[in-house]
Symmetry: C2
Subunit: 222 residues, 2 copies
DNA sequence: CCAGAAAAGTGCGAAATCGTACACTTTGCG
DNA sequence: CGCAAAGTGTACGATTTCGCACTTTTCTGG
């Protein structure tokens, strides 16, 4: 899969829609852990990652668990598209990258001016909704290994290099399971030759096998 | 909570938006098991329940599991609002009722004509997205009793009488767990005085306790 | 090169859930 | 009324995951 340099929503806009946003878009550095949306707080700005990805995480304090993952195929701030000013999950960067951002009010104004712009973004909202429902299914019916396989594939889709910079601790948080559980699952995937690993890194070596392992819960980004 | 007689999306529309839909809306009987959307097939019609509710169910054949629930607060066919013509889940009635329906093409035409109509419906899309993410959280982190409590509350919100017509078999399917697991969970909720039951029926007797039991995963419909 | 910290591996009993099988009870219908 | 079907209760071993604690390995900065 060839990976483009730019955010896919932005790069697919018509010239005129692009021109509508351009004046308000600002380059944004997206370092690890940067918070893009705060749980329950009004959304001030909306981000379009070019690289790296963010996690949408529910249950903030106590038992965090990821419900979605946003990379260059998407954008944050879906609530804005859908007529709300906040949502009830945290969104923060999990793999550092670059992107652009726009003030929420400027985005509102732009989508009021252009139906086709709004429409382009709503198509992504649909993709995200499907991602969330697949997460619900995976959480309900899959074993840790299967969910891990799915997650690794989704992360890989959104990163440029072959290496995923992920600790077990971190994966455990995303999947909402114990850290030793992840260690075991990683070992199993490695034994089966699907991944290679070093401290804090995982490399996918057999994508197809991982997709099988994920048991149909994985669908490629975009 | 007073329960209105009519679909909440429709009843909250402005006069002019309402007038736009009215010519195309047809009363629809919504018997148990009526299929409102088929997995992977184009959406022909969109439904607005006045009573009863539908389930959005993933994993059709093999291991079905519910990802969302649609009653008088909502509508089917969100994909249409978001610029797609199908989605990958089944939607079918789980508690019989009445409602209205509109052909998907007529709905597309109407939302093209009225931004405010589209907007009203998108607000529900946001609510549904949040419901789906909460389902993902509950599936990932909650025990059967907690998920059962959540589900009963959601169903109760969408039904008029106090009695929920639900078999354990059916609940097991919705939650994606074993049937005996539901029997146990139901017994526990009954022991704690939160529900009463008869063969095939459950009545909520202590809503507040159930909400506590659901551990924050339940949020009232609308 | 070494010390400290971060990450990963391991072990253990407890809890939750699974899959399956079977018996009992209620209900609707001929 | 009696029977079949549907719904429910129960049991049992197997599997998965949990929660916690501890050790070992690897990396990093001084």
């Amino acid at each position: 899969m060839a990976k483009s340099q730019q955010n896919l929503i932005l790069s697919r806009l018509s010239k005129s829609d692009r021109a509508l946003l351009e004046p308000h878009l600002e380059p944004a550095d997206l370092p690890l852990r940067k918070v893009l949306e705060k749980r329950g707080k009004p959304i001030k700005a909306v981000y379009f990652p070019d690289s790296g990805f963010a996690s949408v995480v529910a249950n903030g304090d106590k038992h965090p668990i990821e419900v979605g993952l946003i990379g260059r195929e998407g954008m944050t701030g879906l609530a804005v598209l859908l007529g709300h000013d906040r949502n009830c999950n945290e969104v923060y960067m999990q793999a550092a990258g670059q992107g652009h951002c726009i003030r929420a009010d400027d985005l509102r104004e732009a989508i009021n001016k252009s139906v086709s712009l709004h429409r382009s973004m709503l198509r992504y909202a649909h993709a995200f909704l499907e991602q969330a429902t697949r997460t619900a299914v995976a959480n309900g019916r899959s074993k840790i290994e299967e969910r891990l396989a799915r997650w690794l594939l989704m992360a890989d889709d959104r990163l440029d290099g072959p290496e995923l910079p992920l600790t077990h601790e971190f994966l455990a948080m995303m999947l909402g399971v114990r850290r030793p559980g992840v260690t075991i699952a990683v070992q199993e995937l490695e034994c089966e030759g699907m991944i290679a690993r070093r401290r804090g890194r995982i490399v996918i070596t057999d994508r197809e096998a991982l997709e099988n392992m994920s048991n149909g819960t994985y669908v490629s980004a975009d």
